[in-house]
Symmetry: C2
Subunit: 243 residues, 2 copies
């Protein structure tokens, strides 16, 4: 029984699968075979299939007809594209949020930042990766920032891109080994600009924030040569140089 999840079985499997991908329990490039999936999530082929179709449409897995599904492979090239897209779109959405957002939104951002500031960055048992709690708090903060934007299309687009970027964060080794970086300071500065309703500054700060993070990932990526290049069609999005 897919214990977690929504009100249909398919939804439950979708949630679990997604969580396993984002939690790093399924590696990029890994093949997802139906017999295994059925055992792992105690479900039927049909449900697993629907979950995968949805994940494929969202870009988290890729597929070719009659060749099954694969966790989306990561690549330098894709990270570069993704980063540029986020720089442009997230800064635009944040700008709109600062313009449109009401006090409720502002309060939400302050609250999310409060939590983030007090959540410890490093995993206790594995100090190379950020802790799950920190990742969640970080995502929540950024989501809260963007959510002031009243254009649902742009908001949805920005969120989708951000989600995909979280995959790269999850799989980066030694994220945060860069001692020079003041992550907390960057977050605080963004929040300040937001509260002061300075749209231009907020947009500028988040651009830098995104670019910095991406550069960090790229710079330390060569440590781990286990990501495989899997050329794939369908979404037409991945094409694998190595991470």
């Amino acid at each position: 029984m897919a214990s977690t999840g929504g009100s249909t079985r398919t939804d439950g499997v979708y949630q679990l699968l997604r969580a396993d991908i984002f939690g790093g329990r399924l590696e990029p490039g890994q093949r997802l075979k139906f017999p295994e999936l059925c055992v792992r999530y105690s479900t039927s082929v049909g449900a697993a299939r629907e979950a995968l179709v949805k994940l494929a449409a969202e870009g988290f897995v890729v597929t070719r007809p009659h060749q099954g599904y694969v966790v989306r492979p990561l690549s330098h090239e894709d990270l570069a594209d993704l980063t540029q897209a986020r720089v442009e779109i997230e800064s635009m959405v944040l700008r709109l949020a600062v313009q449109d957002g009401d006090m409720q939104w502002e309060a939400g951002a302050v609250a999310a930042h409060h939590v983030l500031e007090r959540t410890s960055f490093r995993k206790r048992e594995d100090p190379d990766h950020p802790s799950d709690e920190w990742s969640a708090a970080h995502a929540a903060f950024h989501t809260a920032l963007l959510s002031g934007c009243s254009n649902r299309r742009l908001l949805a687009t920005a969120r989708a891109l951000r989600h995909e970027a979280e995959l790269y964060l999850q799989w980066s080794v030694s994220f945060g080994n860069e001692p020079a970086r003041d992550l907390a300071g960057e977050h605080r500065a963004i929040l300040e600009a937001v509260v002061e309703r300075d749209a231009d500054r907020a947009a500028e700060l988040i651009r830098d924030h995104i670019v910095h993070t991406a550069q960090l990932l790229i710079s330390c990526a060569s440590d781990e040569p286990n990501r495989v290049a899997v050329p794939v069609a369908d979404t037409g999005v991945a094409d694998g140089t190595r991470l």
Copy 2:
């Protein structure tokens, strides 16, 4: 047997369903019941289901658990959001295309424009709507313009938004009854700017082009009060004021 389509049955149904939605044979707001779908596309529940899951993820149909699938309802509010998103993102992508695109791309744009210019706008039997050929040529022209952008993420985003906008075009009554508008001229101007590699002007022209089209749709939309408001969750994207 799903005669048209890809190499799997699901894909075939997906293509047909999508074509029926974009071809106006399925109305926005219309419920899609499995028994009917199975007859219409001579297929099984499973295949229809997967096709709908994919369409739902792309935003062309909406769903709530245990309440089936519905062709995405159109609304003024959504059109406004969509237009703003397209103005910002398509202009950005076109700018990048002008910067990055090679001569092959340029040639493709010229070719697509050549076809568009020579395709008649009005349907013979129903002069209120643009002809299918013109719609196809129009979409092809815009696709060709954007395709010079080397960032696959941004390109995919822009295309997805453009696709959704085509639904609104399909369902607008009297599109093109506005006599004042020189659609062909706008297209020609855009192409000129592209060929001259004037990124700023191209971006500006396409912004105007998108806004003009949207205004036209809004201004003549009240003619047809058959679009129903169906509040829906899942994609969180539609919420229906009327078109």
